[in-house]
């Protein structure tokens, strides 16, 4: 089966691990996050009629205490950039992070997941902003780890983008 290395990127507590926890196969403890800053999981998706193993490197969210290790991104085939839709700041941080990733790793397929969409009343991302992002070439998905909305779709879109490359 074809395998692809996919990284989960985004600020601290935007819900990366929640997305992973609910929709992927896990065998390692969450402790890996805090010890070495990454946890490896697996998700099998079917893209373009082909089964594909996504090896997910769920990378510890950046915060004031811990910088993300760029070396973990080496060789990745794509990434899911996760944003907390109820905190606009996380989108800005994510885009800055994205710039760093592109400058260091190069351009690889990516999907922008606007997570926590179940909290619509606290949503801070304006529709205009989404339009701008789409226009800039981003594949956007409004996901909810809580309800499961669009999570499969986000992974699927990413897998398709990787396969199309």
């Amino acid at each position: 089966m074809l395998q692809k290395k996919v990284c989960m990127l985004g600020s601290f507590s935007v819900g990366k691990s929640s997305l992973v926890r609910r929709f992927v196969e896990s065998m390692f403890d969450e402790q890996y996050h805090t010890t070495i800053g990454v946890k490896v999981d697996k998700k099998v998706v079917n893209a373009n009629d082909e089964d594909l193993t996504l090896v997910l490197w769920d990378i510890y969210g950046e915060d004031v205490f811990q910088k993300m290790r760029m070396s973990y991104l080496r060789g990745m085939h794509g990434y899911l950039l996760v944003v907390d839709g109820t905190r606009r700041q996380t989108l800005d941080d994510a885009l800055r992070l994205n710039d760093r990733v592109v400058s260091e790793i190069g351009k690889v397929p990516a999907v922008l997941a606007l997570n926590k969409f179940d909290l619509t009343d606290q949503w801070e991302i304006e529709p205009d902003r989404e339009t701008q992002l789409a226009a800039a070439g981003w594949t956007l998905e409004r996901t909810s780890a809580k309800t499961g909305d669009a999570v499969e779709k986000a992974f699927l879109h990413l897998a398709q983008a990787i396969m199309a490359k």
Partner: protein, 606 residues
């Protein structure tokens, strides 16, 4: 250079003539030298133009070097190029060490290994030799090995304990951390290879970032209790092996060799890897070989065929059984022989064992125990004994007693024993047997004396009993008279019978019986009269006995009057008993044959 000077002089000369025929001359000159001039100009330009000159040299540089080498002048060329090449390499490393490292990777590994292997071989060879020629029992073997090689025992044990099991081998794409191939040992637990490979890569990366920033070396070993992860890395691929136990360092050699082989065979596939592990399926036999190495350290003796081991065990058991049984027999026989030696009447001089037969030589008294019976009693097979026992007369006390018994036939109640040549009869025997004993005993082999102190003479006892009975009889008389009281006849008759029996029994005992008839009176009357009366009473009894044909010679009547009263006379009963006749028996040995008849036959006149 000379040619150039000549040409310039010629041109100067031509310009100095501005005359009318200059044109014609110019034309002529042009016709004559123009082609050469153009050629010269072209050459001049090629010489002056650096770019062109470089292009020209580049065409011939390889051939020039080749030609120079063929001329056999290598050293000068090498010397000329060396500084440049050294500088080039240095610069290359300074810029990016990976380029050179990657280029050298396939040659460096083997070269380093070869050098290390050479160093180790000498040491290992001595070990291997020691191993091959050792005993099969491992513990002793290792001790002997330690002794032989002069190495500490612990080191020997350690060397032999390098048993390990490679449970899983991962072939991982270095850059992406994706698994290219994965093999698991039979019955070993297997995890999801994709996730394990990913996390292994992450840990490698973490270690590299945390402890060796800027370095490209990988974490070689990770140990978790009994499980060890060995990792070897190449430019594009990584092999990780999960090992339970302690694999020797040499195992890394095998990993490195496999990795280099894979790097070589799949260099293109590795460089252009996009996540498809398909091309690396063919590498499975190579990485599976790393699983097999676990059996390398197994001691060869465990591979012995089972049938041979069972046969060996049975043979060993039989051998042990046979040895045990033989030892048991030997012990039992030697115990029997020591018992046999204690037997009276048997002397063991020597014994030998010949196969299953025991030959026993010696002597045996016919009266001793039957040796065959003794063998049976000891639980041994009498047929396996060859007894060569010559007959003899034993002087053992027990045999002497047995012999005396056989010859003397002691009556019931009499036992014979012997001690140091003395025969000791015990019990009660009649006189005639005692006479026989005294006569025959000295003739019995082994008897030198007879101790009769424990032997009672039953005939003598009977004689004494009769004597006692007779002496207790009191024949009563009426007051003042010498005739028996009425009713005393029975007593008299019984006494008579007893006297006859006494005489008869005294004969074999060679005794002469004398019976005194003692007459008594009570104190009534004067003593002189009483003496007479007492004598009359005794005579009266004698007459009665003589009347019944009792030998008169042995009856001695006498009267004692009141001098020997039987009872005190304070009562009428006491006085009555004193009016009596009693018997007193005397036994004396029979005199010599000549006087015997007169003593027993002639009766005194009184």
């Amino acid at each position: 250079m000379a040619e150039q000077a000549q040409r310039r002089a010629f041109e100067a000369q031509a310009q100095e003539k501005p005359t009318h025929n200059n044109h014609a001359y110019e034309e002529l000159r042009h016709l004559i030298v123009a082609p050469e001039q153009e050629g010269i100009a072209t050459i001049q330009e090629r010489l002056d133009n650096l770019e062109k000159r470089t292009a020209d040299v580049s065409v011939v540089v390889a051939e020039a070097i080749q030609m120079r080498r063929e001329k056999g002048d290598d050293l000068a060329l090498a010397a000329a190029l060396a500084p440049t090449i050294q500088e080039t390499l240095r610069e290359s490393v300074r810029r990016d060490p990976h380029v050179l490292a990657d280029a050298l990777f396939p040659v460096m590994g083997p070269a380093i290994r070869k050098s290390i292997a050479e160093t180790l071989r000498g040491m290992l060879e001595s070990f291997n030799e020691a191993l091959e020629h050792s005993l099969s029992w491992r513990g002793i073997k290792w001790r002997i090995e330690g002794f032989r090689t002069g190495k500490p025992f612990a080191e020997i044990v350690l060397m032999h304990s390098l048993l390990y099991r490679v449970e899983q081998v991962f072939l991982i794409h270095r850059e992406t951390g994706l698994v290219l191939n994965h093999v698991v040992a039979p019955s070993a637990p297997a995890q999801d290879a994709a996730m394990v490979a990913g996390l292994l890569s992450a840990i490698q990366q973490f270690a590299r970032d945390s402890f060796q920033p800027g370095q490209t070396e990988n974490l070689g070993n990770m140990t978790f209790d009994e499980l060890q992860i060995r990792v070897v890395s190449g430019p594009n691929a990584v092999i990780a092996a999960a090992i339970r136990g302690h694999a020797p360092e040499a195992y890394n050699l095998a990993m490195n060799e496999t990795l280099e082989e894979i790097q070589r065979h799949y260099s293109s596939a590795l460089a252009h890897f996009t996540g498809d592990p398909g091309p690396f399926r063919a590498a499975e036999p190579q990485i599976a070989r790393l699983l097999e190495t676990q059996y390398r350290e197994k001691p060869p003796e465990t591979r012995r065929p089972r049938a041979a081991m069972i046969a060996g065990a049975i043979a060993a058991v039989l051998l042990l059984g046979w040895a045990g049984y033989s030892t048991y027999l030997l012990i039992e026989w030697s115990r029997f022989l020591s018992e046999l030696r204690k037997q009276p009447g048997i002397v063991v001089v020597s014994y030998t064992k010949d196969g299953r037969t025991f030959h026993i030589q010696g002597f045996r008294d016919p009266l001793s125990e039957d040796p065959k019976k003794l063998i049976s009693q000891a639980g041994l097979d009498p047929d396996s004994a060859d007894l060569q026992l010559a007959p003899y007369y034993s002087l053992d006390d027990a045999i002497v007693a047995r012999r005396a018994t056989a010859l003397l036939h002691p009556p019931a109640g009499v036992t014979l024993s012997a001690k140091n040549g003395e025969l000791i009869p015990e019990g009660s025997a009649p006189q005639n047997w005692i006479a026989q004993l005294e006569e025959k005993a000295p003739w019995i082999a082994g008897v030198s004396r007879v101790d009769e102190s424990h032997l009672q003479n039953s005939s003598l006892r009977q004689l004494n009993a009769l004597r006692g009975t007779l002496e207790s009889v009191v024949l009563l008389f009426p007051l003042g008279r010498a005739e028996l009281d009425s009713g005393q006849e029975t007593n008299l008759a019984q006494s008579e019978k007893n006297i006859r029996a006494l005489i008869a029994q005294a004969v074999p005992l060679r005794q002469v019986v004398t019976v005194e008839l003692v007459g008594h009176t009570d104190i009534t009357g004067v003593e002189a009269a009483n003496l007479t009366l007492s004598r009359e009473r005794a005579d009266q009894i004698r007459a009665a006995l003589l009347h019944n044909s009792v030998n008169s010679a042995i009856l001695l009547p006498r009267g004692v009057g009141t001098s020997q009263p039987l009872h005190d006379e304070s009562s009428e009963e006491g006085r009555r008993l004193n009016r009596s006749v009693t018997f007193k028996v005397t036994l004396s040995p029979l005199p010599a044959a000549g006087t015997a008849s007169s003593a027993s036959g002639a009766a005194p006149a009184n």
